[in-house]
């Protein structure tokens, strides 16, 4: 293990390490802690210039209440859900199929198709912007949740295919060969042999794609507008234009917007990290 395990060192070193941990953590999360403090402060504090002191009056979750009941925030949150959930499902369906095809079969175009997915996954969004926007307008899906979901599913399929294919490659191939010897149809091998083994990969992808799409901002402003369709990231920016100086509301709103992916991360931590660090270990 590197660095040297702390438990092998002197008592003094151990204690100072334990003491240092929270200090470094607080410094690291300082900007975030500031927002949390802002979100429970009353408006009057900002007027009187009491930015960093203790809150003048205890407001509790009043700012959060305002965000929830007196703004478009719930609408934006609901839109985010309507965009994110179908995207996650669509990606899982498409990429378990492409991953299966590229991970199990040997055929000439295999590596080329795989590289097409990988390369496409890295392109800058801007090179797609004008044509994708046109296509969405032509399909009569501009400013609809459907239009945004279709694009997200298509684009994320690149990353998901990379992920699935590598995962399936690591499965024991003998299982598939054994099934073939039994004369089982190929699609049944997919459904009854490979798919059950892909559960951890599907879980990892689901949390990752959820987070990516929930946090997407660029495509939201390119393909949608207004509170009827835009997700919460775009909602926050229009809030910002509206209440630029209303720090107490902005900070509460930001925290609400950030909460779903954070909750997802804590609930599914193992899968989340397994997904993000795919390939970091040989």
């Amino acid at each position: 293990m590197f660095p040297n395990p702390i438990e092998k060192q002197s008592r003094g070193v151990q204690i100072s390490y334990q003491a240092l941990l929270p200090v470094v953590l607080i410094a690291w999360l300082l900007p975030l802690l500031a927002v949390m403090l802002f979100s429970i402060k009353p408006e009057s504090d900002f007027v009187s210039g009491n930015y960093w002191g203790l809150p003048d009056t205890l407001e509790g979750f009043k700012n959060y209440g305002k965000v929830f009941f007196e703004s478009d925030m719930p609408k934006y949150l609901w839109n985010s859900v309507r965009i994110t959930v179908p995207t996650v499902i669509g990606c899982m369906i498409l990429s378990s199929m492409t991953g299966f095809a590229l991970g199990v079969y040997k055929f000439r175009a295999n590596l080329w198709i795989f590289f097409m997915f990988v390369a496409g996954n890295f392109v800058p969004f801007q090179i797609l912007m004008v044509p994708v926007r046109d296509l969405t307008v032509d399909l009569d899906m501009y400013n609809t949740v459907r239009g945004l979901v279709l694009f997200h599913v298509a684009f994320q399929t690149g990353f998901c295919t990379l992920f699935m294919r590598n995962f399936i490659r690591a499965l024991p191939f003998e299982l598939i060969e054994a099934a073939r010897v039994e004369g089982i149809a190929e699609w049944r091998i997919f459904w009854y042999v490979v798919l059950p083994l892909m559960k951890p990969a599907l879980a990892a992808l689901a949390v990752l794609i959820f987070t990516f799409i929930w946090n997407d901002y660029f495509w939201a402003i390119v393909l949608t507008q207004g509170s009827e369709t835009q997700p919460v990231t775009a909602g926050i920016t229009s809030f910002n234009a509206q209440f630029r100086a209303a720090y107490h509301l902005m900070s509460a709103g930001s925290i609400v917007a950030a909460l779903p992916p954070v909750a997802m991360f804590f609930l599914m931590q193992k899968h989340f990290i397994a997904g993000l660090t795919l390939g970091a270990v040989k």
């Binding site: 941990l21 975030l32 496409g120 890295f122 690149g158």
Partner: protein, 309 residues
């Protein structure tokens, strides 16, 4: 793969599909995914190349102008600023890799509660860049920002605040971007460190290696796969920077914090008018920069694939 020849002898009654099942199945499974990906990702790249040769407002007739858009880019001061800023992003963003490694080394211990510490350190990566941008614009605020206060204690002052100062602004935004990116690199290295071969470490320790020498000659070589991924995601992240600029400065002050991705958006889709052709030309330049890296990534993967089979 030999099954096909065997099954040919089973009689002529079997359908064509049954006889060619193993050859045909992968294509059937690929059709939906490849179709979507081609329509929404692959074709648009070529379409953008084409649009960049036109003068087009996005609604009326497009007028073919050849390479005029690219010629205009050469004289465009804003384009030049964006290109330089992209370079700053690319270089400085890479700091996330050593910073992430340092934090992961700090946290790679087994003490009570370390798991929670690791998750909390990773926090910035999970929240959206829009929120990160907001948080940092308050952090930098010239009247009450913590950053302004802290540098004030050592007698420093940045005129107009970090985000209002034409020289400081890009560095300020990059620093905000480094926060989540460092967290990402940290988690990659924590995973990598977990897999470091303890026997090699012990052997090196017996040979008297420790500290920096151990890190450089024994640990970092073993972390190579993690470093490669950290490099890939950091480069992609640097060239994709858009959200932070959009929420923190909208390219200002005086357009000094623009990068190509933001400038393209501004030209093609904003209050400054719909200059789709010109925007596409900017996007093509950005794409070509990315292409250098994409080629390198694919080449590395190809080398590995060759080794694997």
């Amino acid at each position: 793969m030999t099954n096909t020849t065997v099954s040919d002898f089973e009689g002529p009654k079997r359908s064509w599909y049954k006889r060619n099942e193993i050859a045909v199945t992968p294509y059937l499974f690929l059709i939906p995914g490849v179709f979507f990906f081609a329509v929404y990702v692959i074709f648009p790249v070529f379409q953008s190349f084409n649009i960049s040769l036109y003068k087009w407002d996005g609604l009326g007739e497009a007028e073919y102008v050849g390479l005029t858009n690219y010629q205009k880019l050469l004289d465009d001061r804003a384009f030049e600023v964006s290109l330089w800023n992209n370079l700053k992003w690319l270089v400085l963003y890479l700091l996330a890799i050593p910073a992430g490694l340092m934090i992961s080394l700090f946290l790679n211990q087994k003490v009570v509660g370390i798991r929670l510490y690791k998750s909390l350190f990773f926090f910035p990566f999970v929240i959206s860049q829009i929120v990160v941008g907001l948080v940092f614009s308050w952090f930098y605020d010239p009247t009450f920002g913590i950053f302004t206060k802290v540098i004030g204690w050592v007698g420093l002052e940045i005129k107009g605040g970090v985000l209002g100062n034409p020289t400081a602004v890009t560095y300020g935004i990059i620093a905000a971007g480094l926060w989540p990116q460092t967290a990402y690199c940290m988690i990659l290295y924590l995973t990598g460190l977990n897999a470091v071969d303890p026997e090699q470490v012990e052997a090196a320790r017996l040979d008297g290696a420790k500290g920096w020498k151990m890190l450089w000659y024994v640990i970092i070589p073993q972390l190579k796969p993690a470093t490669f991924i950290a490099f890939v995601v950091t480069i992609v992240g640097a060239l994709r920077s858009f959200d932070l600029i959009s929420i923190m400065t909208r390219g200002g002050p005086f357009g000094q914090s623009r990068v190509l991705s933001y400038y393209m958006f501004e030209k093609a889709l904003s209050e400054y008018g719909f200059r789709m052709g010109y925007g596409a030309a900017i996007a093509v330049v950005l794409f070509l920069i990315m292409l250098v890296f994409i080629a390198y990534f694919l080449w590395s993967m190809y080398q590995e694939e060759k080794g694997a089979r």
